[in-house]
Every structure is written in C-alpha cells, then in structure tokens.
C-alpha cells in the first residue's frame, strides 16, 4: 500500500509540473496576447505597462548599473538596454558624443526632466548610456525610466520602452520556481498574494468542504434509497431531480435567502462575524440544495450500472434483504466509481463559491477571484489557478488512496 501511495504521489507531482507549464502558456507565454496589456487595458501608458511587466517577471530585473538608450528606425521607438559600457554619454551612431547625462543619486525625476529636454535629431540612429552611481539599483532606474517621455522634436514625443524582455525559457524557469515555492508575488494593489490566499482560502474551505461532503453523502444515500425501492420512488425522484436541475442556481439562492433568512429569520442574511458557523449555515444549505440534484442523478446512474451486474440478482435470489444488499454487495463494488466521480466534481467547488461568497459576503477566495478577473490582475489569477490546481491534485491523490484502500484490484492496476 505504501508503494502504491508513493507511486500515486509521484503521479500527482508530475501533474503539478504539467499545471505549471499550462499556466505559463496561458498567462505568460504571449500566445494569448501580451499579459501586461491585458492587465492594464487599452489606454495604458508605456510606464504603466512597464511596471506591470516588471511585477509579473516578464522583464529582467536589471542588475547592470548602466543602461543604453537605443533609437530604432525612424526614431519612433526608444529602448533601454542594460550594457557594460564605460561611459555616461549621448552619442551618435558614429560614436561621436552628443551630450552627457549626469546622474547624481537616485534622482529619477531630474533624469526624466533631462530626457524630456533632450532633442534627438530625427532619422539618425544614436544611443546614449546612462551610468548610474554604484548605489543606484539599476532595476529602479529602469522601471522609472520606462515610459519616460522623450522629446524628438518640438512637437513629437515618444515613450521609452525596454528591450530587456526575458526569453521565454527563462521566464518559464523563473515562474515555475516561484510558483513551486508558493511565491506568488504581489497583486495590483501591491499587497503580497500568498498570505491573502491563505487567509481567504481557509474561509472558503470552511464553506466548501462541509457543503461538498454533506452534498455528496446525501446524494449517495438518496441514490441507494431510490435503487433499493425502485419503482415509484425511483421514478418520482428522477422527475424531481430533472425539475430542480432546470431551475437556475441564482433563483435557488435568492429564494432560499428570502425564505430562510428574510421571512423565517432562521439564519442571518449575510456577513461574517464570530461565531462564523452562524454565517456559514445558510450558504452551506444553499449549496447543498443546488448541488444535491445533479449529484443525485449522477450517483443514481452510476450505482444503477453497478446494480446491473449479475451478482446483485444472484444475491437477491438468495433472499438477501435490500438494505444488506446495498451495504454489503453494491457499495463495496461501487466505491471506486463513487470516489472517482466525487473528486472529479472538486474543480466546480471553486466556481460555486464565487457566487455564494459574493451573495453572502463571505470574505473568501471567491470574492477575490471575481475581483481579480474583473481587474485582469494577472498575478492574482495565476496564483489562484495554481492553488486550485494543487487542491484538485491533492484531492485526486487522496481519492486514489481511498480507492486503493477500498479495492485491491485498483491498487494492482496502477502500482
């Protein structure tokens, strides 16, 4: 069994690496457009974009203490590059010096001003080097200069940009290492992401876990009940579940809230204060009311398939009672299928909690995810996606172990 557990753990870890790769493709590879642009929106300045890029790790943080200003083509674009050059100067392409920019201290505002006053002859390729004094962090210089306005002639200005984009493979290594260390960086407002996820995640778990367990147990029990009764009970439950599945979840939420909290006053309407259980009961109940019916259908169908096996008929013919039949014959054979289904349902927990947490004002992950999506906060979205994937993988691993415990054949097939 230990060997099996280890084997499944390695399997889960390989999946985690796969998740990191997928997240990279989605968020950072550039395959789906520039993530910084996505976050900043259409009317963003070069400076805003640069700051986001640095925060997301799309650009190198500059460790060199000198930067080169490169002018491309028709002087429409300017780039900063880290160089090892010796001087601080503005030179033409033939290397004749045009002017010098003096840097004293971390004087970024003054630097901006001197750049804004620099008039670069049009149509000539030229470059300048800005050499900072040794105390100046070049990353700070670069991020401050990125987006600085440069006067090209009296009327035209251009924004500085960086050329130091990280190559994709380095971005991937950088991001993977950070994710696997649970270093998620900071969100748009500059707050560190990891502690927020942890704090809010606990509250979401307090809502999702009981709701999930309760809903699953009830659905399986109801499915067994329907199977053992068959006939009229089974058919009416099938009809009822079809009906309830057709009703929108939002309608169910609003109805239950208006009835149980608004009219009957059994639960508080919304909020979050100790004892927190008071504020969780109605959301959990609502969740179960929504999730129960589709799950019932699923488990009823699953168990029905198992029940089709000849062994039940044989047992029944031997005069085994229905209750014992379910407990001793059907369930042990169905464990693997049940557990597999239950773990498959896990990813949907996260989606469910977004709506419920918002409606019931529970300060969990759900409200944060909704906000992140709305603000296109890429770092936060990435962190949440990674965390959810981990939760799912962990659940799968646990499910695997349970399956292995419940059915030796399962263990053998996968060891």
């Amino acid at each position: 069994m230990l060997r099996f557990a280890l084997h499944r753990l390695i399997h889960a870890l390989s999946l985690a690496l796969g998740v990191v790769l997928v997240l990279f493709l989605v968020f950072e590879s550039g395959l789906t457009g520039d993530p910084a642009q996505r976050e900043a929106g259409r009317h963003s300045s070069a400076r805003t974009l640069g700051e986001i890029r640095l925060r997301l790790g799309l650009f190198e943080s500059f460790e060199a203490t000198a930067l080169r200003l490169r002018v491309e083509g028709s002087a429409a674009r300017y780039f900063l590059e880290a160089v090892d050059g010796p001087a601080l100067r503005l030179s033409a392409a033939d290397d004749s010096e045009i002017s010098r920019v003096e840097l004293a201290g971390l004087d970024l505002a003054a630097l901006h001003n001197s750049l804004a006053q620099l008039e670069l002859p049009q149509g000539r390729s030229l470059w300048t080097e800005l050499r900072a004094d040794p105390n100046l962090p070049a990353a700070g210089l670069a991020s401050a200069l990125h987006g600085a306005r440069l006067a090209v002639d009296h009327r035209r200005t251009a924004d500085l940009g960086w050329a130091q984009e990280r190559p994709a493979w380095r971005r991937f290594l950088h991001q993977s290492a950070a994710l696997l260390r649970f270093d998620f960086g900071s969100d748009q407002s500059g707050q560190a992401i990891a502690p927020q996820l942890w704090q809010r995640g606990k509250r979401s778990l307090a809502l999702a876990l009981p709701a999930f367990v309760l809903g699953t147990v009830l659905a399986v029990a109801a499915a067994l009940f329907a199977l053992s009764r068959r006939g009229w009970t089974d058919r009416s439950l099938a009809w009822l579940s079809s009906l309830m599945i057709s009703v929108s979840a939002l309608a169910t939420i609003l109805f239950l809230r208006a009835l149980l909290a608004g009219k009957l006053g059994w639960f508080p309407v919304a909020g979050w204060e100790p004892p927190h259980a008071n504020y969780l009961m109605l959301p959990i109940l609502t969740w179960v009311a929504i999730a129960f019916w589709p799950e019932y259908r699923l488990y009823r169908a699953l168990l029905g398939q198992q029940a089709g096996g000849g062994y039940l008929t044989a047992a029944r013919a031997r005069g085994v009672g229905e209750a014992r039949l379910m407990r001793r014959h059907l369930l042990p054979n169905a464990w693997v299928a049940l557990i597999t289904q239950a773990t498959l349902a896990l990813p949907f927990l996260a989606l469910g909690s977004i709506l419920l947490e918002r409606v019931f004002a529970i300060p969990g992950l759900g409200s944060m995810v909704a906000e992140a999506a709305l603000n296109s906060d890429q770092a936060l979205l990435r962190a949440v996606a990674f965390l959810l994937a981990l939760v799912y993988l962990a659940a799968q691993w646990l499910g695997d172990l349970l399956c292995g415990l419940a059915d030796p054949r399962y263990r053998e097939a996968r060891a």
């Binding site: 929106g41 300045s45 201290g105 505002a109 508080p268 909020g271 709305l374």
Partner: protein, 596 residues
C-alpha cells in the same frame, strides 16, 4: 472624496464615492459573546453597531484617504486638530486634538494648543510603547502633515494643503528632487519645521498661511489632516493603524471587513447630554456590494442604517417618510441637503475627447464632441433608473444650490437634452451622424448593477446620435487607479464635498491638482486657475462673481458633464440613537448610541 457611483449620498466628505456609496450602511448586531442569536441582531443586547459599506475599504494609510470607504474606517481610529460640531447647523468646527487656538489679525498666523490628555493607543502585541500608549505631541502633527506633502509618497490628499501653508510647496518641490535633496529637506523640516509650520512647544503648534483662508479650519476637519505617530508608519500603517481616536482596530480583512472596539477608558470627552464617549463597545463595517443584500439585512435588523436605493427605494420610502411597514417598526428617515456632484468626467489629456496643447482646430472639434455628448445624454433615464426619480436634484452647473455662491449662478446650456442640437454639434465637429467619429471608451465604476446601468445609459444615449461606446469593466478601486494614472477616457464620478464650501468642487478642475491629484479630468486652464487662487481672500460679493466666471468656463468647456446633486436619504433603525447623518463625517460613530 470620491463616492462610488452607486450613489452616494450621504454622508461622505469630500472624496470620491462609488456611484452608489451611500453613506453608510450600517448594521447592528449585537453580539456579545454570550448569547446572541445571530439571526436576530435586534434582539441581542450590547452596544455594538453594524454598518454595511457599498465599496471596498483598502487601507488605513491617511495617504490613501481619498475614497469614502477608506475615510470611513480611518476616521474611527485617527483624529485631526478639529472636528465638525456634531449637531450644529450650519456646519462649524469644534476642538478635537487642539484644545484651543488663536488667529492673528492678519488671518494668517494660527496657534494651536493640543489637549494634554490625548494619547495614541496601540492595540497590537507587542505594542510600540510600554503600556501601549503615548501622548500626542505637536511634533506628531508636523510629521503627519509633512508625510502628506512628501512628493516621494503616493499621497492622495496633498491638494488639500497645497498652496496653503508657507514653505510647504517648497518642501514638496524639494522632496521631488534628488534623493539627497529630499532627505535633507525632510531631516531639516522634521527638526526645524517649515516657515509656516513650527513646533513651539511639546503641545504648541504654529501655522502660517500664505493667505487668509476662510476654509482653513474646515480643511483641518477633513480626513487628510489626520494625526498619527511616525512609529506606526515604519511598522506598516496600511494594516496596523495607531491613532488617538475613540476606537481601536480589532479585526481587519482588507476590502471586506473592519471591526473596531472602544478604547477602554478613552480620555473622557463627553457628548451631547453629558454622556461619556464613545457610547458604543464595538463597530463593525462589512463590505456588502449587493444592494438587495443590504436591503434585506436592514429589514432583518442586521445593519443599523441604510440608504434606500434603486430597486428597494419605492418599497422602503413613501414620499418623504419611511414606508408604513418600516414606520411601524420604528424606523426613521433622515434626508440631507445636496452637498456634492455626480458627473460624467472626460479625461482632457485624451487625444479623442480632450484638449491637446497647440492643436487648436482639433480642440475645437473635441469640445463640440463633448457638447454633443452632453446634449445627447439621457438625463431623465439616469434620474429614473439610478435615482428612483427621487433622491437627487438635477444639476444645472457644477455646484449645488443652497450656498451663497449658488445664487444667480450660470447654468450650462448643454445640460438640457436635445438630440437635434446634439446631432448638429456633432456635424459641426466634423462627424455628421457619427460617421468617422472615435469609438468612446466608457469606464464602468464597479461591478454593482448601478454602475453597469450607468454605462448602458450612456451608451444608449450616444447611440442615438450615432456614436459607438465600449463599456470597460472595472472594480471601483481599479477605476480609481486608472483615473489616477490618467488612463481612463470617460467615467462617471461622484464627489461629496470635503467641507462645507462649494469651492471644494471647483478644486476638482484646478490645473495643479491634475491626476494623480483630484483633478481627474486633467482640466488645465490658466485663467481658471488664477480665478480659483483669488477665491480664498476675496470678499463675499467678489467671491460670488469669481465663482460665476469659473462656472461659465466649465459650462462651455465641459471637462465633465454635471449630472446631479444627491440628497442623502438614510433609513435608521429605532435602536440606533443620537445618529445624525453628517455630510462631512458620515460615520461619527463615537456619538452614536444603541438602545434596544
């Protein structure tokens, strides 16, 4: 301050409010640990108040005291030298941290004496000081104000003191210079003060103004002039505030919840009726974005007050009183005079709708475009959907009626809807029928239905004259950040006056206040700026004339379209006593009382 679109209303001092920030929605629940049925707050005992916020509070740093939600939570912890007299109308200030003050005859030199019994209280463990408290000194006032003026920091409130105190602008410039200069300026100012800001003794402070300013004390009562110990900044003031106010921060979930407990044995200030303040043990603010949720919570007694909005308005309000059902429960209604402006703001730096230096012909076309947009804006639809046809007054220009400056003020000709005229203006701008006109970007100011609706109202109005609009989704905080970077094109903006002077609204268009300052329209007109600078020392009749000229400029240039002035409607539970909604201090919780 900025209100969220949703409406705002009531009581928030000047700052930006979400379109629908009511001023406070509060809720009460008592719960004192022993036995409180969570469902029936109104039956529980205790002196605990519960309120709902309609937008997310993000920080306890007074540098971020710009949004209504942040001001509300910060005011529970921090104090300034003075505060608004809670009950006096018209509004006036009374001593708070300052025990007394005197002003020289020239109206420029002020001396403040701090009260000796004011202490900073630190609820954290271990505390910053042995025993968890230390006295408030004049040096703390100096340091707090200097921090607001430090150009290296992202302060949202510097505009409130800009140009006001001698030497402060110079200090601001120095801190914008090199690192060495900034540090030298700060060290020097901390040690010797500024020409207009000097510590004369442990509790004595002298302020010299650049000119007499009749609003000076009103400004001091705003959240921007909060006084806090420098020690708390180093520790992380965003999440661990330390102030001298009557409440301590007990629980804090950024964006979602802030819970305050009364300082044990707070310094013994008494309120109306001679009762010791604060009169509450606990105040809980919870962010509830959903209007329907807030309404249901109020009906169930889970929050203590509620600005009735949108869908719920006609259920809850019957003319100028609460509905019969609510009256039976003892709920009362307070209605406030308008003290703010809701507008559709244009970013004047934007190349499609704004004003670009030097491009005279283009600027003329874009001004015609803004005027066409104003003429096409469906004000009636806005009023019906967003204001329930009730709780706001149509704006005729940029300041509300009811102030001495409002008498005889010029109204904007473009404020009256007229589609034909709008089409004519659009054609004059060179885009007949909207052909070839730029696609407009309207930034939504939140995820609530009100903000969404405001976008749809705008888009629909523009479609009628052939203009296409993209609606850009944002949370309220995200829009504020965008506008502060000057990257939003068109957006609804609600502003509640920061103090009782309509000139506060005119500062929204003052050139030096451009983004990230409060001039988020980035309107830049030197003539306008000169006029505004002449206001503080002008005599009353001259002042009115100046204001009218400024309004004339805004009416024609339209850096924003004035929409309306919200009237604060506030439903109050019967157990919340001594609660007078104050437009400039929407949650003066220390005066509130719970009696069940």
């Amino acid at each position: 301050m900025i209100l969220s679109l949703a409406l705002l209303l009531a009581a928030a001092p000047p700052h930006e409010a979400a379109l629908q920030e009511p001023q406070g929605r509060a809720a009460i629940s008592g719960h004192d640990a022993d036995s409180r049925s969570a469902t029936k707050g109104q039956e529980a005992g205790g002196r605990n108040a519960r309120f709902a916020l309609a937008s997310e509070p993000t920080s306890f740093d007074p540098l971020a005291a710009e949004t209504t939600a942040n001001q509300v939570i910060q005011r529970q912890v921090y104090e300034g030298l003075v505060e608004y007299d809670y009950l006096a109308r018209p509004y006036r200030v009374t001593p708070l941290l300052a025990e007394s003050w005197s002003v020289a005859e020239d109206g420029r030199r002020w001396r403040f004496e701090l009260r000796p019994d004011a202490l900073f209280h630190d609820p954290q463990q271990p505390p910053l000081w042995p025993g968890g408290s230390r006295p408030v000194l004049a040096q703390d006032v100096l340091e707090s104000w200097l921090r607001m003026a430090d150009a290296r920091l992202p302060a949202t409130g510097y505009w409130a003191m800009q140009g006001l105190i001698e030497g402060l602008d110079e200090f601001h410039r120095q801190t914008a210079g090199t690192l060495a200069e900034a540090e030298a300026a700060m060290t020097n100012a901390l040690e010797h003060g500024l020409p207009g800001l000097r510590v004369l003794g442990p509790r004595r402070l002298e302020v010299r103004l650049t000119r007499p300013d009749r609003d000076f004390l009103l400004r001091l009562a705003s959240a921007y002039f909060a006084v806090y110990p420098a020690e708390t900044v180093a520790r992380g003031i965003n999440n661990q505030p330390v102030g001298s106010g009557p409440f301590l921060l007990a629980e804090w979930i950024p964006r979602s919840q802030a819970v305050f407990r009364a300082v044990p044995g707070w310094r013994g200030q008494t309120g109306p009726g001679g009762r010791a303040l604060p009169q509450l043990d606990e105040v809980r603010f919870t962010t509830i974005l959903e209007n329907s949720t807030r309404t249901l919570m109020f009906r169930r007694g889970e929050i203590d007050r509620l600005p009735p909005l949108q869908d719920a308005f006609h259920d809850l309000i019957d003319g100028r009183q609460p509905s019969a059902e609510l009256r039976e429960q003892g709920v009362s209604l307070q209605i406030l005079a308008p003290a703010g402006l809701t507008m559709i703001a244009f970013n004047m730096d934007d190349p499609q709708v704004g004003s670009i230096p030097g491009d005279l012909a283009g600027n003329r076309r874009r001004r015609l475009l803004r005027q066409a947009i104003a003429r096409a804006y469906p004000f009636a639809r806005w009023h019906r959907i967003i204001r329930n046809d009730a709780w706001a007054e149509a704006a005729t220009t940029f300041i509300p009626p009811g102030f001495s400056e409002s008498v005889g003020m010029p109204s904007s000709p473009y404020r009256t809807p007229d589609l034909d005229e709008a089409r004519r203006l659009l054609a004059a701008a060179g885009w007949p029928g909207g052909a070839g006109a730029p696609r407009l970007q309207y930034e939504l100011s939140g995820t609530d239905p009100v903000s969404q609706a405001s976008g749809e109202i705008f888009a629909e109005g523009m479609r009628a004259i052939g203009l296409e609009v993209d609606l850009v989704p944002n949370t309220f905080a995200a829009l504020q950040a965008k506008a502060a970077r000057g990257e939003a094109q068109i957006f609804a903006r609600g502003w509640t006056m920061d103090w009782a002077d309509p000139a506060n609204l005119l500062e929204l268009f003052y050139g030096p206040n451009r983004a990230p300052g409060i001039n988020r329209c980035n309107y830049d007109n030197p003539v306008y700026d000169r006029l505004l600078e002449a206001l503080p020392s002008a005599s009353a009749p001259r002042r009115r004339a100046l204001v009218h000229v400024m309004l004339g400029l805004l009416n024609e240039e339209l850096p924003a379209i004035p929409i309306d002035h919200r009237r604060g409607y506030m439903l109050v539970q019967p157990w919340l006593r001594d609660m007078e909604v104050h437009p400039f201090d929407p949650f003066a919780c220390k005066y509130y009382r719970i009696e069940r």
